[in-house]
Amino acid sequence: MASSLPMSAARSALDGYRRHHAFRLIVLVILLAVLALLIVQPLGWIVFNSFHDDDTGQWTLRNYVQIFASTSLWAPLFNSLLLATAVAVISTLLGVPLAWLVARTDMPMRGFIRLFTMAAFVTPSFIGALGWILLAAPNSGWLNVGWRVLSGTDWPLLNIYSMIGTIFVCSIYTVPYTFTLVSSALEEMPVELEDAATTLGSGVVRTMRSVTIPLVMPAVLVGFILSFIQGMTLFGVPAFLLTPSGTLVVTTKLAEFYQLFPPALYMSAAYCMPLIAITGMLFYARRRILGRRQFTTVGGKGRAGRKIRLRAWRLPALAFALIVPVTAVVMPYIAIVLVSLSRAWGLGPVPSNLTLHWYRWAIFENAETQRAIVNSLVYAGVAASFCMMIGILVAYIVERKLLRSAGLLAALVTIPIIIPGIVLSVGFFSAYTRQPLNLYGTATLIIAAFVATFLPIAYSQAGSILKGISPDLERAARSVGASEARTFASITAPLMRGGLVAGWLLVFIPIMRELSVAIFLVSPRTNVMTTLIYNYKDGGNYEAVCAASALLLFATLIVVLLSRFVTEGAAYRRRNAASLGAAP
C-alpha cells in the first residue's frame, strides 16, 4: 500500500527536515526581535541613561551618588519603605484571618464577603483613593462634615491626606492578594491531612498549629511579599493622597522628575534602580519560597471541608470580615456614584441636587472623555490580544521544549514582573521618544507598554492552560502527518480555546485599570480613562472625575462578570478534556 505522502525518496525527507528547521528559525527570530523591542530596549535605556548627566550628557556616576547624598532623594525612598512595610503588615493581619474565616468557618455572609473582596481586587486603587477623598478630606469629606455636625467641634475626625490615610487606602486594596493566596491554599489543602492529625488525637487548636498553619505558611509569606511590592510600586494612591501635603514616595518622585522642564530623564533612570533592586529581590524570595514547597499539596480534590463552628464569635467575626468589603467597595463606591450624580457635591446628596448631567457630558458632550473611553477599550483589547499571542507562543515553546533557547525566552517574558509600571513607563519614554523610533503621541507606544507590562501574566496563564493538555494529543497529530504549525492550529489551539478567553480577560482587566504605565506616555490624543481621570482630578472637577470613574468601574465589572461566566465554562470543558487527554 503506497503511502500518499511523498516520502519514499530520501531527498523529500531531507527537504522536510530543512523546511521544518527554517520555519522554527523564522519564528524564533521574529519572537526575539519583538521581545528585544518590548523589554530589552526600554530597560537597556534606563540602565544607559542612569549613568549619564542630565546637564552635560556625559558618562557619570553622579546620579547614583546623589540618591544617597540628597535628602530630597532619599526621603521618598524611606517613605516608600515605610508605606510598603505598613501595607504588608496590615494586609497580612487583615487578609489571613479573613481567608480563614471565609474558607474554614461557618461565619455568615461568606459568599458576599468573598464577592466584595474580589470587587476590591478589580477596583483601581487610585479610584478608591478618590472615593476616600470624598469621604475623609479634612474639610469637605462627608465623614468629617457629619462629625462636625454631630460633635459640634470644628476639627476634622479623619485626614486622608496623610501617611496614615495612604497606608489605610493602599492596605484595603492589597488585602485581596493575601486573601486569594491564603484562601486557595486553605481550600486546596486536602481535608485528609487535618483528619489524619485528628485521628491521632489532636484537638482543633493543636491541628491548626501543627498542620494547617505550616501548610499555608508559604501562601502567607508570598502574600506578604506581594503586598510589600504593591506598597512600593503603587503610584495613583500616593499621588492623590500624599503629594498634596508635599510628602513624596519613590513613584511620585519619579513623576516629579518628568514635570521639571526639561524633564530630568537621566536622574529619573538612576532613581528607578533602587525600586527595581527591591522588587527583584522580593520576587526572588517569592520564587525560593514557592520553589521549595508548593503549597498546593498532595492532589487536593477540593472536597469541601467541615466548617469550624464559631458559635458566639460569629457576629464579631462578621464585623471584622466586613471591614474590607465596606471600606474598599461599599463606602467609596457610594461616594463616587453619589457625587457623579450631583450637580455640585458640596451641596450634599439631596434630591434637588441629583442629575445625570455628568454622564451625559462624559459620554456625549465631551470629546476628551469620549476619546478616552474608546482608547481604553481599543488599547486594552489590542494589547491583551498581542500579549496572549506572545504568551502562548513562548509558553508553547517552553512547555513542549521545542527550542534550546526556550529558557531565555521564558526569562525575557517574565522580567517585567519585577519592573514596576512607573519604571516601565520611564523606560518606554526613554527608548521611543527619540530617533530613529519616535513614537511619542502614538497609540503604538501605549499599546506596546501595556503588552510589555502584562506579558508575565499572559505567559503564566498560557503555561497553565498548556499544562492541562497532554503533549501526546499533539504527538498523535504529528505522527499522522501534521506539521508543528498545523498541529498547533488543529489540535492545541481548539483545546486551549476556553482557557484562552479567560486568560485574555485576565490581561484585559488590569490593562483597563492601569495608570502608572501609561502616565508618561499619553498625549492629549492618546489619553485613556485612567490617565484622564488622573489629569481631571488635578483640575478639581470632582463630579466629572466621579462620573468618568464610575464608567470605568462599570465597564470593568461587566468584563469581570463576563470572565467569570467564560472561566466556569472553560473549567467544565477542561474537566471533560482532562479525563480523556491528560498525561497519566
Binding site: M1, S3, M7, A13, Y17, R475, S479, G481
Partner: protein
C-alpha cells in the same frame, strides 16, 4: 511498508544512559514486541523511532532511508510512521470520524477516496456504528480502537504501539491482544509493540526483544524466549521462575548446599568453581520420589490454593527456597517434609545476574 534497521542506537540524558547501543532488524511486515520493565529503554527506542527525540549515537533506517541519526532527525510528520499512545490521545474536541479522518485531510485526498479510507479504517476496528460519537461518550476500549483506526487510516509504512492496552481493564486487555494481532494479519504493516506485559508480547508478536538496562537482552520468537532464555534476567522476567544460587563444579553441574544438581549449562562461564544460578519454572518442579538425579529434601513453608494450581514454597537449604506449582489436589502442609525433583531437561544454569535483587 518497509523494514526497520536499527544500528548501534544509543541515547543519553545527561549522565544517564537510557539506551546503550542496540541493534535490531525488523523485517517488512513483521510484528516485533519490545518487552521489558519500566526504565529498560523500550519507550526511548519508540520515541526515537517516531522521531520525537534525537539519538545520541547510531542510526535508524526505514526501507533503507536514513530517518534518525545524531546529525539529522526527519520530523515525525515526514516519516510515515503512526503511533498509538498509552493514554490513547484521542482528541476530545473531534468526533470518532473526525479523529480518524484528520490524517487523511492532511493528504488532500478526493472526497470519495477520503470517505473510502475512513470507512475502511473504522471497519477494521469495528467502530463504524460509533462514528459520530465524541470521545467522552466512548469506553476505554472504544477510545483505544479510535486511536488504532486513526493511526491505520493514513496507511503508514510502520505502526508503533506504546503500551496500548495498559489502561484497559484485565478482561478487555485480553480481548484487544487478539484484536491487534488480527488487524496486523489483515493489513500486514510492520509493527513495533512496546509493552511490559509478557502476555501481550507472547500473544501478539512474531518476535520479542527483551530489554533491560538499555540493552537488548534477547531477541527471539515467543517460544524461544520462554523455553530457552539467554540469561537469568530473561528467564525471570518471562513467566514465573526459580533462581537457585550455587557453585558451578563442572560443565552442567551446580552444587546447592550438599546436593549436586545437573542441568543444561547456558552460562557461557569459562571457569569452574564460580557462582552461578540454576533456573527452573515452578510448573516444572515435581513433588515426591523420582528416580535419577536432581532430588532434594525440603520443608514446606507456605502453601496457597489458586484454583487452577497450588503455589507451594519449599525451603531446600538455609536461605534457599523454591516455588512449585503443583496439582491443586495435593495438599502439602506448612512444616511438612517433602521430596523435590527438578527434572534436568528443564534446568538451565546461568551466570549470576549482577543487578538482580537478592531473594
Amino acid at each position: 511498508m518497509s523494514d526497520i534497521d536499527i544500528r548501534q542506537l544509543s541515547k543519553s540524558y545527561g549522565a544517564y544512559q537510557a539506551l546503550k547501543s542496540i541493534d535490531l532488524n525488523i523485517p517488512n511486515g513483521a510484528l516485533l514486541a519490545l518487552l521489558g520493565p519500566s526504565g529498560c529503554g523500550k519507550s526511548t527506542t519508540l520515541q526515537l523511532l517516531a522521531g520525537f527525540d534525537t539519538p545520541s549515537g547510531g542510526e535508524i533506517r526505514a526501507g533503507g532511508e536514513l530517518i534518525s541519526s545524531p546529525q539529522r532527525v526527519v520530523p515525525p510528520e515526514r516519516r510515515g510512521i503512526s503511533l498509538v499512545f498509552q493514554n490513547y490521545a484521542v482528541w476530545p474536541h473531534k468526533t470518532v470520524a473526525e479523529n480518524v479522518a484528520f490524517g487523511l485531510h492532511l493528504r488532500k485526498l478526493s472526497r470519495a477516496e477520503l470517505e473510502a479510507r475512513l470507512s475502511k479504517a473504522l471497519e477494521a476496528v469495528r467502530l463504524t456504528p460509533l462514528r459520530e460519537r465524541y470521545p467522552f461518550e466512548l469506553s476505554g476500549g472504544q477510545q483505544q480502537r479510535v486511536a488504532l483506526a486513526r493511526a491505520l487510516a493514513v496507511e503508514p509504512r510502520i505502526l508503533l504501539l506504546d503500551e496500548p492496552l495498559s489502561n484497559l481493564d484485565a478482561h478487555l486487555r485480553e480481548e484487544m491482544r487478539f484484536e491487534i494481532r488480527r488487524v496486523h494479519d489483515e493489513l500486514g504493516i510492520t509493527t513495533v509493540y512496546v509493552t511490559h506485559d509478557q502476555g501481550e508480547a507472547l500473544v501478539t508478536a512474531d518476535e520479542v526483544a527483551v530489554m533491560q538496562g538499555g540493552i537488548v537482552q534477547q531477541l527471539g520468537s515467543p517460544e524461544d524466549i520462554f523455553e530457552r532464555p539467554s540469561n537469568a534476567f530473561v528467564a525471570s522476567f518471562i513467566g514465573s521462575n526459580n533462581e537457585i544460587p550455587g557453585r558451578r563444579e563442572a560443565l552442567g553441574q551446580l552444587r546447592v548446599a550438599d546436593t549436586l544438581l545437573h542441568a543444561e549449562d547456558r552460562s557461557g562461564l569459562p571457569s569452574i568453581g564460580t557462582k552461578a544460578v540454576l533456573c527452573i519454572r515452578p510448573s516444572r518442579v515435581r513433588l515426591g520420589e523420582a528416580g535419577g538425579a536432581n532430588n532434594l529434601n525440603g520443608v514446606v513453608r507456605r502453601s496457597a490454593y489458586l484454583g487452577e494450581y497450588r503455589d507451594v514454597l519449599i525451603e531446600i537449604a538455609a536461605n534457599t527456597t523454591l516455588r512449585a506449582f503443583v496439582s491443586p489436589h495435593l495438599r502439602p502442609q506448612p512444616g511438612e517434609s517433602v521430596q523435590v525433583h527438578l527434572p534436568p531437561e528443564h534446568c538451565q544454569i546461568f551466570a549470576t545476574p549482577d543487578d538482580a535483587p537478592a531473594r
